[in-house]
């Protein structure tokens, strides 16, 4: 495999007296799906916010394409090719798919020296890109609100890919979805990975992670418990690591291994 | 015309008849519209509504009352324009802001609609816009009449309590009063402000500093009510001559117990009733009074209170 596209080295993040991240190291390669697992409060959100430029690390280093990085704000990160798809906050239900797709990056055409929104271009590209992801829209003016949760995630992912994301951070894209929609999103992740984009997939669902992940990093209480490669670890082991060991084993026993 | 269309028209006519809430059978068919500047919240104008309704009923004309809901004079200008467009026989309107209303009113006059100015405005302004006449209470004349009456009742030295010094027209009442008494206004006019306790204390201070004052004029309930309280406090209630403009609950009470000698009523009923009657007679027989009509001052004394109380808010 080639060099990692992004390396997070010993990242620490303190909020006042609270230590959210206590030295986390992760590297992500192009074309892999790197799953970041952890229970609620493990520090996943803080970690990806650091990666996408929302937070500045208290200590540690981020190396992106071989160079140390210092993002001033999320727009810098976006411009560099690090895109984040948030669980809820990335689509506007009342707006059409094509308006959403180009939100913040509207295509322009000049008529008589004045810049106008190029709707024809936007509509064409949107339909095309969505077809590539396996979603047939009724039309580019269909409102996002009429799409299912999985389809919305797919639009958001397609948008990030179209605008040249090299690292795609997915923040719990499957947590609120049904079985079939989850399958759709996972299929989308697979497609994106095959295009050579590094995917960082945040989840606390081991099965979803196992379905598409190439490597797995477990966060617990602000620390990483190591990175495992697909095939070297079982879902049960991952589950235990996320929960922090002992108690979960007992709980699981009483639940008959269903969790 | 197809029978379907006829039926439709008929149905429409029937519906329109029930739709029309506007008053009275129009025996002679004239239509008069009264436009005021008062917001909906101003209940004083209820008397006006009743006045035109009664007049319309008596002369058999259709009458309508219109006002800008918020009292916005610019909206009032639109209402006058609209009234003009609907082609009535006459428009009765106040002249609350000469600059704004001059245009719409003259346009109505120029289209052959008779206009009478009521309540607000002056006879001179009414003439300038081309109105037939002015019906209302000219402030100076009302003050003058009050002064004449007060002189007969023995007033020689007075205090005029003015709570609306920023409105020059209201101040005219004091000037007229002084001229009626035949004495110089001098510094008898007090800028009292509108705060009740301030007014009361100013009046008390003025009266103790000027013991020769034997008459007081207040220009409305705002200045009258605290003045009543002041006189009751220093024991001059009933002993000093006291006249006031306009009526109100406290004023009526004070007239009753003798603190106030009389209240000057501008008689809004007449401001509404007279123009309708005059317009109807002008339209039918071509007769018109040769001058403006002063609806006030009507002096309300203890003896006349019964009618005021009976018709308060309705015709008084």
């Amino acid at each position: 495999m080639s060099d990692p596209i992004i390396q997070m080295k010993n990242i620490e993040k303190h909020f006042g007296s609270v230590i959210a991240l206590a030295g986390v190291s992760v590297d992500v390669f192009p074309g892999e799906c790197h799953c970041l697992l952890g229970d609620n409060g493990a520090g996943k959100s803080t970690f990806i916010k650091t990666m996408s430029g929302v937070h500045k690390p208290t200590a540690g280093e981020i190396i992106f394409e071989g160079k140390p990085l210092d993002f001033a704000d999320p727009r810098d990160a976006m411009a560099a090719g690090i895109a984040t798809v948030h669980q809820h906050l990335s689509m506007i239900p009342l707006m059409s798919v094509s308006r959403n797709f180009f939100m913040g990056n509207e295509p322009m055409k000049k008529i008589a020296g004045i810049s106008f929104f190029d709707h024809d271009f936007a509509n064409r590209v949107t339909m095309e890109e969505m077809r590539k992801m396996g979603i047939n829209l009724r039309g580019p003016d269909q409102a996002v609100g009429t799409l299912s949760g999985g389809e919305r995630q797919t639009v958001a992912i397609a948008r990030a890919v179209y605008f040249g994301a090299k690292v795609l951070i997915l923040d719990e894209p499957t947590s609120a979805l049904g079985v079939r929609q989850t399958a759709n999103v996972l299929a989308t992740i697979d497609k994106v990975r095959k295009q050579g984009i590094a995917v960082v997939f945040i989840t606390h669902n081991v099965r979803h992670a196992m379905a598409v992940g190439d490597r797995f990093t477990v966060l617990n209480r602000g620390q990483t418990l190591g990175t495992a490669v697909r095939g070297e670890i079982t879902p049960e082991e991952l589950q235990d690591m996320m929960a922090g060991g002992q108690e979960m084993v007992q709980l699981e026993g009483s639940l008959g291994g269903t969790v | 015309m197809t029978s379907l269309m006829k039926n439709l028209m008929l149905a429409t006519a029937v519906a329109a008849a029930s739709f029309t809430v506007a008053q009275t059978a129009a025996a002679e068919g004239e239509k008069y519209i009264l436009v005021s500047h008062a917001p909906d919240s101003d209940t004083w104008w209820n008397t006006i509504k009743n006045g035109i309704a009664l007049a319309g009923e008596q002369v058999g004309a259709e009458v309508e009352y219109r006002n800008p809901p918020t009292g916005d004079i610019a909206d009032m200008a639109r209402i006058i324009e609209q009234a003009t467009a609907s082609g009535p026989d006459g428009i009765i309107t106040t002249l609350a802001d000469f600059d704004v209303l001059k245009g719409p009113i003259s346009a109505a006059v120029d289209q052959g609609i008779d206009v009478i100015i009521m309540n607000t405005g002056t006879p001179e302004q009414a003439r300038e816009v081309g109105a037939l006449m002015y019906v209302g209470q000219p402030e100076y004349d009302a003050g003058y009449a009050a002064g004449l009456r007060a002189k007969d009742e023995g007033v020689t030295n007075f205090l005029c309590v003015n709570h609306a010094i920023q409105q020059p027209t209201v101040g005219e009442r004091c000037r007229g009063y002084a001229d009626g008494l035949g004495i110089d206004l001098g510094d008898s006019m007090m800028d009292s402000g509108t705060d009740p306790s301030e007014i009361k204390n100013k009046v008390l201070a003025y009266l103790s500093a000027n013991p020769d004052v034997d008459g007081i004029l207040t220009l409305g309930p705002v200045s009258a009510d605290p003045t009543i309280a002041a006189l009751q406090e220093n024991g001059m209630a009933g002993a000093i001559h006291f006249g006031t403009f306009d009526l109100g609950e406290e004023i009526v009470k004070a007239i009753q117990d003798g603190t106030i000698n009389w209240g000057i009523d501008q008689q809004p009923f007449l401001q509404a009733y007279m123009p309708v009657v005059i317009l109807a007679n002008w339209d039918r027989y071509g007769v018109l009074p040769g001058n403006n009509i002063n609806s006030g001052p009507g002096f309300v004394t203890k003896d006349a209170l019964a009618k005021v109380e009976e018709f308060a808010g309705e015709y008084r």
Binding site: L89, L94, F116, F117 | E64, Q82, V100, A107, D110, Q111
Partner: protein
């Protein structure tokens, strides 16, 4: 997983009717047709449809339109401005103070007033985005603050609450006619001569047409509607307006400068209010402390009738313009139809209720809520 999901068999094809229903202008269009039909039936010979009557409700509607365009874009951007009415009174008073009391040239008074009012709009917006307080509260505060100054300033400098003489002061000014003038006089004179429209029967203007031109107020209304519509639907900034009102957080995540958009929309609303005020004082020649009372609600009502959602993110300038037209025609038309004027509020309430219910239904269709 299959490569194509094809069409989801559970989503029914949307019928053309429903498709038309989700256009925000639809309610406005239906309402406009209904209102005109109603008044054509009930008030046709009442003078409502002669030249003067048409001009009357056109001007009233145009007034609503001017402030509705601003309120509409602001509402789509997710905010309200309750200070519009007070801004109208304030702007008129500023022109009177600068142009009459201080006797500056009228063009300068107008321009300075625009600068001050847009600045106040920006302040409104800045406070809203900075504090995160609901714009309802912030602009409510400005409703009182501006109205207070509108009464205080003329009382202090002139000892009265109405300042006149603006028309005389504007005589010969180059900028004033753009707000207070009329266009198309020759056409109307010709129509009057031909007997198509009514002429004055007597007085100094005898022989001149009663309606002698199209007031600039109407021209401004049309210009602002066209500008607002193109801005909203055909430009990048329009997309940002929708985004800022639809979901500010999502818009920020996508790199939309939400705060800038909102502040600019507050400024545009203030601009529209100032246009309204300048047209008014130029036409009437005086500024009063009570001008513009409750106009903010009339603007919001017109926008809501026109199909915009109170929660932001959805609406149309054309719809708002139609809402303003309905508002104006109903307000003036009820009078022509001979309906007691106090019933106007009843009609207004009914229309408003219908519009809001329709809007809620539309949003359910769009967002697929059940």
């Amino acid at each position: 997983m299959a490569d194509t999901t094809d069409t989801d068999e559970r989503i029914k094809e949307i019928s053309p009717l429903r498709r038309a229903l989700i256009r925000p202008e639809l309610g406005g269009m239906v309402g406009t047709v209904a209102v005109f039909t109603l008044f054509a039936l009930f008030a046709f010979d009442s003078g409502m449809f002669n030249s003067q009557g048409v001009m009357n409700w056109s001007i009233v509607s145009a007034q609503f339109m001017i402030i509705a365009v601003g309120a509409c874009l602001l509402m789509i951007a997710g905010e309200f401005d309750l200070s519009v009415g007070s801004m109208i009174g304030f702007a008129g008073m500023m022109i009177a103070v600068f142009g009459v009391v201080l006797a500056w040239p009228m063009w300068m008074a107008i321009l300075i007033t625009f600068v001050i009012c847009c600045g106040l709009g920006a302040l409104n917006g800045w406070i809203v985005v900075r504090t995160g307080l609901p714009s309802f509260i912030v602009t409510l505060a400005f409703l009182f603050i501006l109205r207070g100054f509108t009464i205080y300033i003329p009382q202090t400098v002139e000892r009265k609450t109405i300042i006149g003489g603006i028309r005389d002061a504007a005589e010969g000014d180059w900028l004033a006619p753009i707000f207070g003038g009329k266009i198309g006089q020759p056409i109307f004179q010709w129509l009057g001569d031909m007997g198509v429209i009514g002429v004055f029967e007597r007085g100094t203007r005898a022989g001149q047409p009663v309606v002698d031109g199209i007031p600039m107020l109407i021209v401004w209304a049309i210009a602002l509607i066209i500008f607002g519509h193109i801005l909203l639907t055909r430009t990048r900034f329009g997309n940002w307006i929708f985004a800022a009102g639809g979901d500010a957080e999502a818009a920020r995540n996508s790199g939309v400068p939400v705060n800038k958009v909102k502040i600019l929309m507050f400024m545009f609303t203030a601009f529209c209010a100032t246009v309204f005020a300048v047209c008014q004082v130029m036409e009437f020649g005086s500024a009063g402390a009570d001008r513009g009372l409750l106009k903010e609600f009339e603007a919001i009502i017109a926008v809501v009738i026109g199909g915009a959602l109170l929660t932001g993110g959805y609406g149309s300038v054309i719809g708002a313009a139609l809402g303003a037209l309905i508002f104006g025609v109903v307000q003036q038309g009820l009078f022509f139809a001979g309906v007691e004027s106090s019933l106007f509020r009843v009609f207004l309430g009914v229309i408003l209720l219908f519009a809001v219910i329709l809007n809620t239904y539309i949003r359910r269709i769009i967002t697929g809520e059940r």
